[in-house]
C-alpha cells in the first residue's frame, strides 16, 4: 500500500466517526437546514472539477466534462448555501415585536 493511500485511509477513518458524532448533535428542529448545508458542502467536488478543467495536460473531452462539472457544482454551491441561509434567517426564538 502506498504511503499516500495509507494517509488517506487514516483521514477517512477519523472523518467518518467525527461526521457521525457532529450530525447526531444537530437538533431535529434543524434537520432540513442540515441537509441543505451538507448538500452545499458536498459540492466540494468543484475542486476536482477545476483541477480537470484547468489542467494543461487534459484532453479536450476531459476539459469539456470538467467545465460542465464546474457549472453543475457551482449551481449546487450557490443554491445550497443561499437556501440554507434563507431558511435559518426564519428561525426565531421570541415572538417578533409588533
Amino acid at each position: 500500500m502506498s504511503n499516500e493511500l495509507e494517509i488517506s485511509l487514516y483521514v477517512l477513518a477519523l472523518a467518518v466517526p467525527l461526521g457521525l458524532e457532529l450530525v447526531r448533535r444537530v437538533s431535529p428542529l434543524l434537520h432540513t437546514p442540515l441537509m441543505s448545508l451538507t448538500n452545499a458542502i458536498s459540492a466540494i467536488s468543484v475542486v476536482g472539477a477545476i483541477l480537470i478543467a484547468g489542467a494543461g495536460d487534459s484532453p479536450t473531452l476531459s476539459k469539456v466534462l470538467g467545465c460542465i462539472a464546474v457549472t453543475a457544482s457551482t449551481i449546487n454551491i450557490v443554491a445550497g448555501f443561499l437556501i440554507t441561509d434563507r431558511m435559518l434567517k426564519m428561525f426565531k426564538k421570541k415572538e417578533p415585536a409588533k
Partner: protein, 465 residues
C-alpha cells in the same frame, strides 16, 4: 514561486476542512446556525481559491465562465423557490452535485486512457465507486425531484419481477468492476458501466412512494457525500475525503432516524413499495360513522380550551396553511390559551420540513416540539388540532398487527380530550391506510382546504372576541 503557492493552497485546504467541520458543529443549535453557514461558505471559498492557485491549473477563462453560468442558475433557484418546495430544491441540488462528481470521475478516467497510462488499481477502485454513486445519485435525484414536484406519479410504480430486474442489472454493473479495475482497455466497458449506473438510479426511485421521500432524500445526500470521498481517493485530495465523509455520515444518520421513525428497515423503504397495500380494507372501513363540525363549532371549542397542540403534516404544506396557522396561534395566545406544535420526524417530505415551514410563518421555534418530548402532554391537552397529517397520528400503529404501519412510533393525539382533524374528505391518505382516529367519539372532522378552514376559524374567533 511554486513552492510558496504550494504552501498557500495546502494551508487553504486545511482551513477549509476545519471550516466545514465547524460549520456542522455550529448548526447544532439555532442560535449559532447562521454562523455555521458562514463558516461553510468560507470553507468553500478557500477550497475554490486554493484550487485556482495550484500550479496544475493553467487555464482560467472557461472555469470562470462555468462559475458564472452556475451562479446565474443557482441563485434564482434558491431565491424563487417557495419554502414548501425545499425538498424538491434539495433533490435537484443533489442531482447537480452528484452529476459533477460523476463527470469528474469520467473525465479523470479518459485522461488516463487517452494518455495511454494504465490506471493504478487503487485509483480505479475509487473512480468506479465515484462514477457509480455519482451517476446513480444523479438520475435518482432527478426522479425524486420529479416525484416531489409531481411531474412523475408519486404512487410507487411497480411491476412483476421488479426487484429481480434491479438485482440483475446491479449484478451486471458490479460484474464489470473487477474487469475495469484489472485495467481493461476494451472501449465499451466504461460507457456501459455509466449507462447501467444511470439506469439503476431511475429504477431505484420508481417503486418509492412520496411518503418515503424523507428517507430517500437523506440517503441520496449520503451517496453524494460518498461519491465525493471516493473522488478524494482518486485525486489524492484529503479535503474531499473529509468533506465527503462528513456528508455521507450526515445523510446516513438522517436516513436511519427516518427509518426508525417509521419502524421500517432500509431494505423495506427501498424495495418494499409501500402504499400499494390495503385498498380493500380502506373501502369497508369508511362505512363507519364519524362526526363532522363547522368552523363555528371548532372556534367555540378552541376558545374554551386551555391547552391546544397543533399537529401539522404534509397536507399543511400542500395547502400553504402555515401563515393562517400563525394567525390562529396569535388569536388563541391572546386569549391566554397555550398553543404548542408537535412535529413527527417524518412529517412532510424531508427531515425537519415542518419546522422550516412554521419558522417561515414566524412561529417561534421554542413552540415546536419533538415527538418524544410532547407525547406525555397529550393526556392533559384540551384540543389536538391535526392539520394535513394522517399516518403519523394513526392509533392502529400501536395495536393493529395487520396494519402496514404497525410498530411505527406515533403522536398520541387520541389521548387529547378533543381531537379535531382538518382534511379534504374521508379519503384515506397517501398510504391508502384508513385511520381509526377519525371514527373516535371525541374526534371532530373538519372538512375543507386547510388554509381556508383555518382562516374561517380565525374569523369566527375574531368576531367572538
Amino acid at each position: 514561486m511554486n513552492e510558496v503557492a504550494g504552501g498557500v493552497w495546502q494551508a487553504a485546504y486545511i482551513i477549509a476542512a476545519l471550516s466545514f467541520v465547524l460549520s456542522i458543529k455550529w448548526l447544532s443549535s439555532p442560535v449559532t446556525a447562521r454562523r455555521g453557514v458562514l463558516s461553510g461558505e468560507i470553507g468553500m471559498l478557500l477550497a475554490v481559491v486554493g484550487t485556482l492557485l495550484r500550479h496544475e491549473v493553467v487555464s482560467f477563462e472557461w472555469i470562470l465562465i462555468s462559475f458564472l453560468i452556475g451562479a446565474a442558475i443557482g441563485a434564482p433557484l434558491a431565491f424563487l423557490m417557495p419554502m414548501t418546495s425545499v425538498p424538491q430544491l434539495t433533490a435537484l441540488s443533489h442531482a447537480f452535485g452528484a452529476f459533477a462528481a460523476a463527470l469528474v470521475g469520467t473525465a479523470e478516467y479518459y485522461r488516463y486512457t487517452m494518455a495511454g497510462t494504465p490506471i493504478p488499481p487503487a485509483i480505479m477502485v475509487a473512480l468506479v465507486i465515484e462514477t457509480l454513486l455519482g451517476y446513480l445519485t444523479f438520475t435518482a435525484s432527478i426522479m425524486a425531484f420529479g416525484k416531489l414536484q409531481e411531474i412523475v406519479p408519486t404512487r410507487p410504480l411497480t411491476y412483476r419481477g421488479q426487484n429481480l430486474v434491479n438485482a440483475a442489472l446491479f449484478a451486471f454493473a458490479v460484474g464489470l468492476c473487477p474487469w475495469m479495475i484489472a485495467g481493461t482497455t476494451v472501449g465499451w466497458v466504461f460507457p456501459t458501466f455509466i449507462g447501467l449506473s444511470l439506469l439503476f438510479g431511475v429504477l431505484l426511485i420508481l417503486p418509492i412512494g412520496g411518503g418515503d421521500m424523507p428517507t430517500v432524500i437523506a440517503l441520496l445526500n449520503s451517496y453524494a457525500g460518498a461519491a465525493c470521498a471516493a473522488m478524494g481517493f482518486a485525486l489524492g485530495n484529503r479535503l474531499l475525503i473529509i468533506a465527503g465523509a462528513v456528508n455521507a455520515s450526515s445523510g446516513f444518520i438522517l436516513s436511519v432516524i427516518m427509518c426508525k421513525a417509521m419502524n421500517r428497515s432500509f431494505g423495506n423503504v427501498l424495495f418494499g413499495a409501500f402504499g400499494q397495500v390495503q385498498e380493500g380494507v380502506a373501502a369497508h372501513m369508511s362505512q363507519k360513522p364519524f362526526r363532522s363540525a363547522t368552523a363555528e363549532d371548532a372556534a367555540q371549542i378552541l376558545a374554551s380550551a386551555r391547552k391546544v397542540i397543533v399537529v401539522p403534516g404534509y397536507g399543511m404544506a400542500v395547502a400553504q396553511a402555515q401563515h393562517k396557522l400563525r394567525e390562529l396561534t396569535d388569536v388563541l395566545t391572546k386569549r391566554g390559551i397555550d398553543v404548542q406544535f408537535a412535529i413527527h420526524p417524518v412529517a412532510g417530505r424531508m427531515p425537519g420540513h415542518m419546522n422550516v415551514l412554521l419558522a417561515e410563518a414566524d412561529i417561534p421555534y421554542d413552540r415546536l416540539h419533538e415527538m418524544d418530548d410532547i407525547n406525555p402532554d397529550f393526556g392533559e391537552t384540551d384540543v389536538a388540532l391535526v392539520i394535513g397529517a394522517n399516518d403519523v397520528v394513526n392509533p392502529a400503529a400501536r395495536h393493529d398487527k395487520n396494519s402496514p404501519i404497525y410498530g411505527m412510533p406515533i403522536l398520541d393525539v387520541d389521548k387529547a380530550h378533543t381531537v379535531m382533524v382538518i382534511k379534504r374528505s374521508m379519503n384515506p391518505g397517501f398510504a391508502g391506510i384508513d385511520n381509526e382516529l377519525y371514527y373516535m367519539d371525541r374526534t371532530l372532522m373538519l372538512f375543507g382546504d386547510a388554509k381556508s378552514f383555518v382562516g374561517e376559524i380565525v374569523k369566527e374567533l375574531a368576531a367572538a372576541a
